[in-house]
């Protein structure tokens, strides 16, 4: 256990401790990094989390399964739709509830849009951390369109509570579909522009290439998932490996890279944006007609006694829900395995030996969301 409060210069006057955060703009929330430095080189780094702990898991033990719905999207507020829908899918699987086809397709469309919006926000903030303000504005402009589109059906812009056990709250209309298709086209035209502005930019490449290596071994040891793992060369994606919902019906690639550095993680996410776009387009072209809510949803949700685990692929990786039921309407225990937590844990190893300015790029590239780590 490191001492927590020691900051400033050490006795030998050669090394010193520095707190980065918790209120640091580039830590994407309230993360505190306690750095032990020699000059600008990091000797050791301790990520200290827990500043936005809201006890979501404890809250789950004091309310029934339905009442927990609004909590889900507040864990990871950037991919709230995926969490919300994932939780619904978990409970549906546990109690054996059939979801109408149309609702399944709508869920996929909304989740993938949400994934794109999350990646766009990450894109913008990473670039802002590296000192480029313009791409941030462009990404937010595009992201804004997604938020507006999701607002059309879910009624919220960020913390969605759109999924229900057995379906979704609202049916999509023609306006939603046409705007989504228009957006897909727009973003496809936009991506080459981003490449011109950012990806091919020499300064950007020099800042990202060759730093923050997370290799396969580290991935295994720390249970790193999501784009960080794929950038290290592991072809893992819950949507592909254990398809939930109707993901087995779509044709999409799982982008991978081999280097595992910041630039590879960047490229994986950029490719994921276009894969998600293609999933959205496929889903819209196949969208069946019908109801969006199961006809018979039990009023009382009381899963049989036992332990359950269900996982979905969030924008940041493997999001798992571990639910212990004691046969009543109130869960005995709910635990969430959130991807950023494991991804951040690698920082102790990865940051060693790098410099402060690289820290900003590395932290940005693993795409952490602090409320999801602290829950």
């Amino acid at each position: 256990m490191p001492e927590l409060i020691r900051v400033g210069r050490d006795e030998d006057r050669d090394t010193y401790h520095l707190n980065m955060g918790p209120q640091h703009p580039s830590t994407h929330g309230v993360l505190r990094l306690r750095l032990h430095l020699k000059g600008e080189v990091i000797l050791s780094a301790d990520p200290i989390v827990g500043y936005s702990h809201r006890a979501h898991e404890k809250m789950a033990e004091n309310r029934n399964y339905i009442q927990f719905l609004p909590n889900t999207s507040r864990m990871d507020y950037l991919s709230g739709m995926i969490y919300n829908v994932g939780y619904c899918q978990a409970i549906e699987k546990i109690i054996g509830l059939e979801v109408p086809e149309r609702a399944e397709y709508i869920r996929v469309i909304c989740c993938e849009l949400n994934r794109i919006s999350s990646h766009l926000l990450w894109y913008g903030t990473l670039l802002m951390d590296l000192g480029g303000f313009t791409p941030f504005l462009y990404c937010f402009e595009d992201r804004e369109r997604i938020l507006d589109i999701l607002d059309l059906v879910s009624g919220s812009r960020l913390t969605y509570c759109y999924g229900r056990f057995g379906g979704v709250t609202e049916d999509v209309d023609d306006k939603f579909l046409s705007e989504t298709l228009a957006f897909c086209k727009h973003l496809r035209n936009r991506l080459p522009e981003y490449d011109d502005l950012v990806t091919n930019n020499v300064i950007f490449q020099n800042r990202c290439k060759g730093i923050g290596h997370i290799d396969k071994k580290t991935c295994h040891e720390f249970a790193v998932t999501g784009p960080c793992q794929r950038a290290a060369g592991e072809k893992r994606d819950v949507r592909r490996d254990e398809p939930y919902g109707i993901y087995d019906r779509f044709d999409f690639k799982v982008p991978t890279r081999t280097g595992g550095d910041c630039f590879d993680r960047f490229m994986v996410r950029v490719e994921e944006i276009s894969e998600s776009l293609s999933i959205v387009e496929q889903a819209i072209s196949k969208l069946p007609v019908g109801p969006v809510m199961a006809p018979k949803v039990p009023r009382k949700i009381a899963p049989a006694k036992g332990e359950y685990y269900f996982a979905v692929e969030s924008a940041r990786g493997h999001f798992g829900m571990y639910i212990v039921s004691n046969g009543t309407e109130i869960p005995e225990r709910m635990h969430f395995r959130t991807p950023s937590f494991s991804n951040l844990a690698t920082m102790r190893r990865v940051l060693k030996g790098s410099t402060i300015s690289d820290t900003v790029a590395i932290l940005g590239s693993i795409d952490i969301v602090l409320p999801e780590i602290d829950r």
């Binding site: 607002d151 059906v153 709250t169």
Partner: protein, 187 residues
């Protein structure tokens, strides 16, 4: 030599990037000048809940069943209701919403048996104190409450009459059937 090509590549990528930003100069602005222009909000935009009008009553149709109060995860609804003369169901006396706590989850709308809850259309409420977000949902219906009660009583009376009439008709039909049976037996 390598350095020169590096510089060349760097310059080219920079100019390319600048080309993108310059093109953006001539695009239409994407922002909305808020107080002067107002954004078009979605039809299903979630907001503070309100009691919505039911056409046949001319007022809300809350029966103070407290279902919404029970399901609300944030405990932000509190209702008291009482039985009014000539009505089959209760009617709320107070209906308070603490909007500061509301998470806009929409669960209360789902459980309402009379579908009388909806979302308000006003999306830009602001306030200086917590009390500014304590809403009395019955406020907007106070003026018409008496007439609504009258209508409800009328509806209730009609329903009762219908029920009576149906019972009478049933009884008559039964009696007739019996007579027929009797007749059949005799013949």
């Amino acid at each position: 030599m390598e350095m020169i090509s590096d510089v060349y590549r760097g310059f080219r990528s920079l100019l390319k990037g600048m080309g993108v930003t310059i093109r953006h100069f001539f695009r239409k602005p994407v922002t909305v000048e808020y107080p002067r222009e107002r954004a078009v909000v979605s039809k299903v935009q979630r907001n503070a809940i309100v009691l919505i009008e039911k056409d046949d009553i001319g007022s809300h149709n809350c029966i103070a069943c407290l279902q919404c109060e029970k399901i609300c995860p944030s405990n932000c609804i509190s209702i008291t209701g009482s039985r009014k003369d000539g009505l089959a169901f209760k009617r709320p006396d107070t209906f308070d919403l603490n909007f500061a706590l509301c998470s806009e989850c929409g669960l209360c709308l789902d459980v309402c048996p009379t579908d009388t809850l909806g979302y308000s259309k006003q999306y830009d409420k602001a306030g200086y104190s917590r009390e500014d977000f304590f809403y009395d949902l019955l406020d907007q219906w106070k003026a018409t409450e008496e007439t609504a009660l009258g209508t409800l009583r009328e509806i209730e009376r009609k329903k009762k009459e219908e029920r009576e009439a149906r019972r009478k008709a049933d009884a008559e039909a039964k009696a007739k059937a019996k007579e027929n049976d009797d007749g059949d037996e005799k013949a």
